[in-house]
């Protein structure tokens, strides 16, 4: 999947009548999304800028 395949932005809530989900076909289990390779996207650049050690340094005190 590439970024171009994202669903269009949709405003909500809308007011459709509820429709029942179709049952999965026999033998079909949950499937993972297929990942693409959006190497030219801004988001991939943003991800590459993240310091790999950032989570290691990040310390919080327990909250609720």
């Amino acid at each position: 999947m590439t970024y171009d395949m994202f669903p269009e932005r949709r405003e909500g809530p809308v007011n459709p009548m509820p429709k029942a989900p179709s049952p999965p076909e026999e033998g079909e289990g949950p499937r993972r999304p297929q990942s693409g390779s959006p190497d030219k996207d801004n988001l991939m650049k943003r991800m590459k800028k993240v310091d790999p050690k950032q989570a290691e340094r990040y310390r919080q005190r327990t909250g609720q």
Binding site: G12, P30, R32, S35, Q54, Y58, R59, G63, Q64
Partner: protein
């Protein structure tokens, strides 16, 4: 049933320029950066009592782990008063913004519709980020970063609590029985996703979980929130007329970035509460609910099953499907928002099985998993690479220049229930059909005459007789609107209260 809900979010806070930071000072300074005038103490803690247990008893103290107990001793010797440390603010939109246990916390005003709730949750993100921007201006650069997540990947968790007004006529035992299997499995829709597993022996990389919070759930029921965290929190602190209402205070949920996930988390929970009130919740009993939370969280393929007392084995999706079917049978056609929830809930469960990719930008755990898998492929690294935990953290950064979710949103790749105008409006004004909006009106118009306030009451200064706006049973939307109108137009709080009393006397 009266619908009223709200979300409290404790934000993680970090300083890029310091190796170690003081979280008490940073959180306090962050909240105060919101102010343009000196801090004035207004929040009234008198009605806050987290020791009352809904099971019918009172505990003498709340549990803390050893580390936090040691921190508490140090905190007691700091050069700040309790009130200074909390820095409690009530905002013109009726929200509360303060330092809660070293985390900046934004508590939304009470909302009646999902759209209002999502707008106010987003307004909270905007307000805390603006405070961070101001703090950064003073510090120079952008050292302060805020994370709308629930873990530091070192075994410390902080919460995102969803709250619901519930009639006290519903027995607490019925709430627990009806909610447990639902909350255990709600993460398949509302989990925020997490890299790795946090255990008592430390962080274990390599796995991907549905939920940020699952590792920290230790018991089925408890009044505690910082240690021994429960699936159903039993704190009995209604912030309303105690004879009529409960506040269901759920601490198991993750902080969501996706508006769709926030709406479904709260919307589906509200429907389940309505099923319980009608005695129509599905009769499901898990053999080991706490274990089930972790089993479901740790299988991102959604195939793990958990054992029921009737010896059936059901997956998280199966459990959600049971609740969806019961809600569909009982509640379909009740009102447009109910029908929207039912439609989207059912569709989400179907897509999780058949076309999960269509939920990218709608469910956080699916979106984050997709981002990380894309990155893994691009960088040719494994799931045990520590970089992934950093990317997980950055997904939740609310800074629009840095956050990964923010990046997706800027590209128009996520589902929105709100638009910019909605969020901006929610930043300055509460819902005018709830006491949250009324609270905001009082803050906007009469801030200098408020002596103290809390969720259910506002006290005003002036004169010999106390001037108190009691909102402990002010939930009828028409009544709220009438009261808002009076406070919007009156020359003083005393005039508004006198007119409100006359109106109540006439109508009662």
């Amino acid at each position: 049933m009266t619908r009223l809900f709200g979300i409290e979010t404790e934000y993680g806070i970090g300083r890029d320029d310091l190796d170690t930071m003081d979280p008490v000072v940073e959180s306090m300074e962050l909240v105060r950066a919101h102010l343009t005038t000196p801090f004035e103490r207004r929040w009234d803690y008198a009605s806050e009592d987290p020791h009352e247990d809904a099971r019918g008893f009172r505990v003498s103290g709340l549990a803390q782990d050893k580390e936090e107990a040691q921190f508490s001793i140090i905190d007691a010797h700091r050069p700040f008063s309790f009130h200074e440390m909390k820095s409690d603010l009530v905002l013109p939109n009726g929200a509360r913004f303060y330092n809660d246990h070293t985390h900046p916390e934004y508590s939304s005003p009470e909302c009646r519709t999902l759209k209002d709730l999502v707008a106010h949750d987003r307004a909270g993100e905007r307000i805390v980020q603006r405070a961070a921007d101001r703090r950064n201006q003073r510090l120079g650069g952008t050292p302060v970063q805020l994370y709308k997540n629930n873990t530091d990947f070192h075994g410390h968790s902080y919460g995102c609590h969803d709250n619901y007004l519930v009639s006290r006529s519903v027995p607490f035992a019925a709430l627990v029985a009806g909610l447990l299997p639902f909350l255990v499995s709600r993460q398949v829709v509302a989990g925020a996703g997490k890299v790795g597993v946090e255990t008592e022996s430390g962080f274990v990389p390599g796995a991907y979980q549905l939920s940020q919070r699952a590792d920290f759930i230790e018991t089925e029921l408890s009044v505690d929130t910082m240690h021994n965290r429960p699936i159903v929190n039993t704190r009995d602190e209604p912030h309303a007329d105690v004879k009529k209402y409960r506040r269901l205070h759920l601490i198991i949920g993750d902080a969501n970035m996706c508006e769709y996930a926030t709406a479904l988390k709260v919307g589906t929970t509200q429907l389940v509460l309505e099923l319980i009130a009608r005695n129509r919740a599905p009769g499901l009993e898990l053999e080991e609910p706490v274990t089930a939370v972790k089993q479901i969280a740790r299988d991102a393929d959604l195939k793990a099953t958990v054992r029921l007392k009737d010896r059936r084995n059901l997956s998280g999706l199966d459990l959600q499907e049971c609740y969806w079917e019961a809600a569909q049978r009982e509640l379909a056609g009740a009102d447009p928002e109910t029908d929207w929830i039912l439609c989207e809930w059912g569709e989400t469960l179907r897509l999780l099985i058949q076309h999960r990719e269509q939920l990218v930008g709608r469910l956080d755990w699916v979106t984050k998993q997709w981002l990380l898998e894309t990155f893994i492929r691009e960088e040719q690294i494994g799931w045990d690479d520590p970089w992934l935990a950093s990317l997980d953290l950055e997904y939740h950064n609310v800074n629009p220049e840095r956050g990964l979710y923010r990046g997706l949103e800027a590209e128009g790749k996520v589902w929105r229930m709100t638009n910019e105008a909605d969020v901006e409006e929610a930043s300055v004004r509460g819902p005018l059909d709830t006491r949250g909006g009324l609270r905001g009106v009082c803050v906007r118009r009469f801030a200098d005459q408020i002596t103290d306030m809390q969720w259910e009451r506002i006290r005003f200064s002036g004169g010999w007789r106390p001037k108190t706006l009691d909102m402990g049973d002010l939930f009828d939307p028409m009544d709220v609107r009438r009261c808002v109108e009076l406070f919007e137009k009156a020359a003083s709080p005393a005039d508004a209260l006198a007119a409100w009393k006359t109106r109540k006397d006439v109508t009662s």
